[in-house]
Amino acid sequence: MKVRVRFFAALREHVDRAEVVWELGPQQTVGDLWDALQNAFPGLGGLSGHVAFAVNQEYVDSAHCLHDNDEVAIIPPVSGGSSHVPSGA
């Protein structure tokens, strides 16, 4: 399956692009995707634990299962370095 991955702010500058289309095997989670992205873009390596994730514009945690054509956003800290899904998500 393929997903569209979007990067913002500091992350966008680290990877030098705003988005990529990423090919994944079946039954992959957001966490699996994030591991793969960190291998592909070493600039992301130090940021693990400092980012949140959204799929199709809703916050999710790293165990969320991906589907074909999902839009995945890697969300750098929006409030002082929050490292988890914002409360109430």
Partner: protein, 160 residues
Amino acid sequence: MYHLAREVIDVGDVVASVGDSSAGATATFIGMTRDHNGGRVVRFLEYEAYGGMAEQEMERIGREAADRWPICKIAIVHRTGLVPIGEASVAIAVSAAHRAEAFAACRFAIDRLKERVPIWKKEHFEGGEVWIGHAGGTPGRDPQHVPGDARTDHGELSRG
């Protein structure tokens, strides 16, 4: 009214949008771009938003505020792009029958916005630029210096 603004925010429009014949109070919060931060002289600020999700999260905050307090209407507008010093980066207006709930809901809205609305701020200061790990432009409150906040170690993501 929930939107991102590329141009100057018309605060009068934001306030007018929450007008309601049953409201006896309107509380507002205006986040302004200031000329200093952490000992640096700030030249201007730049805001980047995840369009679509940002407005959706603002709407969610409006619903949460309405669930908690008996408010009439709420509006949230956030600037994006380059913002000169002294301009509004965010404007929130809340109308309610009485001032207590208007103030409370307005405070709640700006606090929630900074927690979860995907908008990022880049500070362009004399000698450099840095992404700040929070959204908005609250004067007098720097989340990087909130006592006991474990997140303060990585409040900034320096470039390069």
